[in-house]
């Protein structure tokens, strides 16, 4: 892990072997399209931040093959994802499942938005209710005085 002090672009090392290869692809274009889409949502478990679709790692290749085998066997997309989660855990999903542990991840930002919007509106309402009139300037006071004829 501790290599020389350079930019470590580890995952990219094996890159030119370039991800999905023609030999792996399914004959049925619709099925292959589904496989590609699933592949883009599954994480290559030994890479830094790549989907199995983008990765040239051995295990990514195996996972791509497994995805295609499951699809050919008639699995639904969900079943394919479950198949992978059973082996590699939620870690393998690039889109984390919505459950207790990820509640804050999914709802954190919308919550911030709601609370902030509510706070802004409350402040605006309160300000409108309580805003004191700005004090008269000397000029205005002068005009007022002249208007009132004093």
């Amino acid at each position: 892990m501790r290599c020389a002090v350079t930019l470590l672009l580890m995952a990219l090392l094996a890159l030119p072997a370039l991800a999905v290869e023609p030999s792996e692809m399914l004959k049925d274009p619709a099925l292959e399209a589904r496989a590609r889409e699933i592949g883009q949502a599954l994480r290559c478990v030994v890479c830094q931040n790549q989907s199995i679709d983008d990765s040239a790692a051995e295990v990514a290749r195996d996972m791509r093959r497994a995805v295609r085998e499951r699809l050919s066997a008639g699995d639904s997309d969900t079943q394919v994802f479950d198949f992978m989660v059973a082996r590699y855990g939620d870690y393998v999903l690039l889109k984390p499942p919505f459950k207790l542990g990820t509640l804050l991840l999914w709802l954190g930002a919308p919550l911030v938005l709601l609370i902030a919007a509510a706070a802004i509106m409350l402040t605006a309402l309160r300000r409108r209710a309580t805003a004191p009139l700005p004090p008269l300037s000397d000029e205005e006071r002068e005009r007022l005085r002249s208007l009132l004829g004093r």
Partner: protein
Amino acid sequence: MSRRLLFLLPLATLALMAGFFAWSLMAGRDPASIGSVMVGRPAPRLDLRALRDGDKPLTDAMLRTGKPTIVNFFASWCTPCLAEHPLFTRLAQRDGAVIIGVAWKNKPEEARAWLAKLGDPFLHAGQDFDGRTGLDWGLSGVPETYLIDGNGIVRFHFRGPITEKDVRDTVLPFLKGGKP
């Protein structure tokens, strides 16, 4: 007063985040660790051709003998496997450990030659040439090692080579107690 608290909110958020960062750095958390979902579960299916001529093929029964078993995935092309191999040899010879070896994505003759050269600590050895069994076991690469108790439940999953420390702190106690 509540207005003042509002202005403290950014600072509090920062403190919380910094706490996590410090925790992560101090605890030496490895961000590359991917964990394992196998631990605590029955060992996945094992059904492989034997690596050595005249050997029995690998079966699930070999993992449910009542004795703690070590399953090691290796390959002759894998450099870290070289580093951990003497530990397995010693575990087999000195500590009488039951070790099952699986040659992952490895030509059988190359794996056999590798074992012939470095010593063969495996009671049973199988070949997983296409990596399908590895996938079923949640393997990310080689070497990886699983400690399986007598009932066939996975108790430990090491990703990467095991070290002297792992043997001392985990493997040996596991072999003695059967439980971590």
